[in-house]
Amino acid sequence: MSPPSRRTAEGPQPRESGSGAEAAPRAARRGALHAASVAVFTIVVALALGLTIASTVSISEAKQRYLDQQVREVSSALQAAVAAIQQPLITSSRIASKDGVAAFRVSAQAEMPPFSSMSLWRVANGHAVLITVVVPPGGPPPALLDDPAAARRFIASVPASSELTVTALFGLKVRGLGYAERLSPSEGAYVVYGETSLPLNPFIGPEPAGSPFAGLDFALYFGRAQTLPTLMFSTVSLPPKGRSTSEVVPFASAVVTVLSVLLGRPPGALPPWVPFAICGAGLALALLAAALTERLVRRRESAETEASERGEERDTQRDIAQTLQHALLPEEHPTFPGVEMATRYVAGVTNLDVGGDWFDAIAVDEHHLFFTVGDVSGRGLGAATVMGSLRSAIRAYAVQGDAPAEVLRKLDGLVSVGRDGYFATVVCVLLDVAAGRATIASAGHTPALLVTDRGPSFVDAPPNTPVGVVGPRAPRSVEVQLPAGAMLLAYTDGLVERRDQSLDEGLESLRSAPVDWHGPVESILAGVVEHMVPGGAHDDVAILAVRRLADAADATDEEAAATWVLRARQAFTRDRDEVPAARAMVLEAVPEATGDVRDALALLASELATNASLHARTSFEVAVRCDDAARRVRVEVTDFAGGEPTPRTPTPAEPRGRGLRILAATASAWGVDQAPGEPGKTVWFELGLEGPDSQGPKTPSVTV
């Protein structure tokens, strides 16, 4: 039993796919032979038949040639025999005419055989008179003389010519041939008659080797009729078993019929089975060729059908994918005062599934715009679902005012590469439009492009693991200043990734794209797409670009002095083991701090973290900012417990509070920020990066 196959039109199971209307002609097509196969079959059969006929004809012609040849040989042997018989008759008659009857008798004696008897006759006035008969001792008298009257008539009728006259003597007791020769009148009026005997049984078998008829298979009939009474002799049994041909040939004054018989195969001819072999092989070949052709034609046909169906499926699928993609992406990004924004989605030409690329822009409040570009790994509905949930979550967190790094931290539980098989790279940007400050957090995403008066450059955001991949630390962000007219461009990796070039080359190609970076954002995106993915993107590409307009900058005089750039931001639990982690994070964020400054930075960070760890209910957050121009670092530690830390004069027995004393003594500035009505507070300090800070309060002495 072969398993049921979809290809079997009448299989034991109904076809799973294909409507009836579609299946019916397909089945019909499978049943009928193709014209090509029929043609191949016909041609090969015709060729085989032609060859068969040719070989048959060739064999037949060879046989006929052989038979004809045999006739010719028999005929020429007969002519030779006639000559051999005529010559002694002429000689004997001349001797009789010249030397008399006695001399004839002597001569005739010498001529037997082949003659069984000879006789001398004289013909005058139409009458024949027997003069003498010569018979060997014991031999029979001439058969001709059995009827003397008929004998005289025959001798009298012998014409005087060069031709030998012959008569057949076929009786019951004797079979022979009689030959008569009459000399011309000038040589005398004699007729010499001789007889030869034929075997009583005409079937003599093959002629012996010395005979002129040796090797020939034939029968000789006297006259034209092929009857047993006129059969002179035959070397084969009659009627002939093989192919035969007959021909009447002259024999002295009479004719004989030569029946030429072919026994076996004539030399040089094709074996008789050849035509059958050719015919059989040809038929087999024709069937094989037809079957092969049929199979090839069907395979090609089915490949064409499949290709066309697959092509249709691809088109349909791509349409669906694009429709779905557009349904998942925001219809229109919000217009936001003070910025010029444009987005672009380019569907990959080679992908049929819906992709996981997206962009989004959310107005947080009148001054803050949150935008994001992300890419969920993989394709298909699963990736699209993950993308939808991430997008919604980002919107929710952004609207409630979470910073980008915090948004990334909160996204982590939503998707897990271990659990769902998906992860996502995301870049989140919170743009303070008025201040021109962009806080950028990237979860493994390709770097955003910042375009300022000095041209395009990539934003070097702190590396965080992609969403869905557990990282060693909480996500961090960077702050960049966005002067009036500057533009941020975020995109998914399909824009810069090529199979034939490295990511760095792709990034460089984007950075050096020949577009007017100060033209309209829409045309910048068009130019970038045209430059980066001229023939259509291989993978999907999502792009979002935001330019801060000059108008926005005017409204920010007050904030223009803000030069703190966020280096890192990270959340920690209140676990005491988090204190060294927080300290390490601060040191890592400010690699330029060395020597005493580094010691001081570590000490202060440790004190703030310790304080927060002891006071926070659940977690605390550490942010590191640097003012690169002023060479200062600012560390902010926010706990989520109430109350302001109070520096107290510590006593040796009362360890608490000593940390704040260290803070006050070491930091160049410090303070506590607490928003009214909100739990938690932020303790911060600033430290000069150039060296020991002498501006801070003097070290208080501790008395015992």
Binding site: R576, E578, V579, P580, L603, P655, R661
Partner: protein, 114 residues
Amino acid sequence: MGVIVTMDVALERAPGHTLVTVAGEVDLATAPALASALSEVTEADGPLVIDLTEVAFLDSSGLSVLLQARERLGGGGVVRLVATRPAILRVLAVTGLDEVFSVFPTVGEAASGS
């Protein structure tokens, strides 16, 4: 989290004094271990010398443990510190504890008390 802080404490009872050698970072995370080690020392063991030469980092949490040990053992020159690193000397100075503890540059000097 990814940061692992290590601190090693070794206690050695020598004739006339007890030596506790500390290495690594002393902060909120490691202070309990130091406190635990120091709690084994009694007044009968003689002067306590705490060698901080190999301590890379010390903050107020560590200072508190040192002060608690001094209080328990009766104060007044019983606990002597050995420290040479600027970061350690600075935090002691900033908190005024360099005047509370006797601070020596070597263990030998701390043991002899001179």
